[in-house]
Amino acid sequence: MSTIDNKLKAISNINTLQQRDQWVNHLHPLVKLLLTFIYIISVVSISKYNLSKMLVFAIYPFFCFNLADLNFRDAIYRMRLILPLVMVVGIFNPIFDRDIMLYIGGNVMANGEHVGGLAISAGVISMLTLMLKGVYAVLATYILIATTSIEEICYAMRKLHVPQILVLVILLINRYIYILGEEASRIMTAYKLRAPSQKGIHYKAWGPLVGQWLIRSMDRAETVYESMQLRGFNGEYRYVADQKTRATDVIYFMVWLAVFAVFRFTNVVELLGGLFV
């Protein structure tokens, strides 16, 4: 299957997930958007050597993935594009930052020196926290987008006073992505049938192929505008009904907020460990 078809499939997959009848899907979009933001800020602001605080934040994605019945494999598959840069940036930390931070096992001598045991350098710790940050942020975003449609997120953005024009453009892009994506797929198929055994579009066809398509799309925008006007569009996007904030929304929000605050400002992992050691 071609990459275009894969992308289109990814779009329709995520749309299917958004339309499911799950408890998380029915939460107020503003609650989910804000929680995602707060979660990412909490995670990203953790110091690069504080691996134990990082660990405990795994609970949110774990909980939500189960609650919303999402598949970890799909989410991780999505990360293949965004994680390489994080990995490249992090992978050098162990090389440049070699101060020993932590010993596992071994004995401490009277003069404070360690003997034996496994020494772990600061660079390894900061690499691990960075990678966890990357994974957590993508997982949290995935939870948001797999349970909330773009229309709902736009609604939440309007509630946050994001300008109308921007929200409208986003909604229109969202509406036309699939249509133009399918067109791209048809164009590529037609091209491949006429130009066999070529990996991509020949340079001589770059201009005419994309250019004609662009002109067609511009004409389509004109038609879209006319039909929008015929239906009474005057620059305002109207929602059928205001989504009411229910008690569940508020409780869900407050509970997670409290959990994030505890995770962020106290070292839960060490406290938990202290109970057993």
Partner: protein, 350 residues
């Protein structure tokens, strides 16, 4: 090369909240100004055109373009193309839309990094590319050669600036030990190639538009709305081979500009030289890092920045490790509990 265009996408993890916030403020400011400008144009058709063009950019990113002479293929990012068609302000807003949808549909980029991504990809592409390069070059009307030159120069320069910003933002966030020099030396050449290819594709498309519907191009003839007047086409057509020659010169000039630009940051160079010299005390040195650190302390969104030797480091005690294990068990427990209840429910329903 799909992965390549993603290199420009900042990830949430690479940004400290203070840096991400700064980039959000900067991008929001430009967006507010752009909205004002687009509203002043008072063209009701503009919104649908922006929407459809945004989706178009998205769709063209799915196409593969074969690069002559090599086995690989390139993609189109679109900032330069959009602003050549819609003007910088509408182009910028459309690019914000594209980046946001990318983030909301494919989890590319991330919510926190959106401000930085808008700046790195949309701001340079739309404003530097169109106002400083496209518009002055097209002042006296468009020709094929001028379009090709402007597109390549614009794409190369804006991608270089974007890549350089990625480096600065990452270093200012203090999450990597990668020396400035190494980071820059990796990012800039890759994006030189990507920018060149993108410029070629963009120019091919814009040249076609210029021939088919010249009135669609923005900013030609010094007037944002006037139809372009072709003056120099009588010289004869520029063939592809001739253009390549022109391009080589343009690329050389662009590379020169980039190196000038880089040396305009003595801070960073000094820093990288010290890194090479092997000074180990550089953890919190370096101009950009200090500035960001000051901002972080001043704004103190979450003023918790521990460095080596500070006390809140991962449990040097065993309790840290044991606690970590407890968290892992807790997560697995939650998963199993959910599965258990779900299965029970299914059975009850059946």
């Amino acid at each position: 090369m799909e992965g390549d265009y993603v290199i420009m996408h900042m990830a949430d993890a690479l940004l400290a909240p203070a840096v991400a916030g700064t980039m959000y403020v900067a991008s929001t400011g430009v967006a507010a100004y752009s909205i004002k400008k687009v509203k002043m144009e008072n063209d009701p058709k503009k919104i649908p055109v922006m929407g459809v063009m945004g989706a178009f950019v998205f769709a063209t990113q799915m196409l593969n373009f074969t690069i002559p002479g090599t086995g690989s293929s390139g993609h189109l990012c679109g900032g330069m193309m959009l602003s050549a068609l819609l003007g910088p302000w509408a182009g910028f807003l459309t690019m914000i839309g594209v980046l946001l949808v990318q983030c909301l549909m494919f989890a590319d980029g991330g919510l926190l990094a959106l401000g930085a991504n808008v700046w790195n990809m949309a701001f340079y592409g739309c404003f530097i590319g169109s106002l400083l390069i496209w518009k002055p070059i097209m002042k006296k009307g468009a020709t094929k050669g001028k379009i090709v030159g402007a597109s390549i120069l614009g794409c190369v320069l804006t991608l270089q600036l974007g890549a350089f910003s990625v480096v600065l933002e990452t270093l200012a966030s203090g999450i990597t030990e990668l020396p400035f020099s190494v980071f820059v030396a990796t990012m800039q050449p890759i994006h030189l190639a990507i920018g060149f290819v993108e410029g070629l594709i963009t120019s091919a498309v814009l040249v076609f538009i210029h021939e088919a519907r010249p009135e669609m191009l923005w900013g030609v003839g010094g007037n944002d709305n006037l139809t372009s007047i072709d003056v120099a086409d009588s010289k004869g057509k520029l063939t592809f081979k001739k253009t390549i020659g022109v391009l080589a010169i343009v690329a050389a000039i662009a590379a020169g500009i980039v190196s000038l630009f880089a040396s305009a940051y003595p801070d960073g160079l000094e820093w990288s030289m010290e890194q090479v010299a092997g000074t180990s005390e550089l953890e919190a040195a370096g101009g950009a890092y200090d500035v960001a650190n000051n901002i972080q302390t001043a704004t103190s969104i979450l003023p918790d920045y521990a460095f080596k030797g500070s006390d809140s480091v991962l449990g040097t005690t065993t309790s840290g490790l044991v606690g970590g294990l407890v968290v892992v068990l807790l997560c697995v427990g939650v998963s199993l509990a959910f599965k258990f209840f779900k299965n029970n429910k299914k059975e009850a329903n059946a």
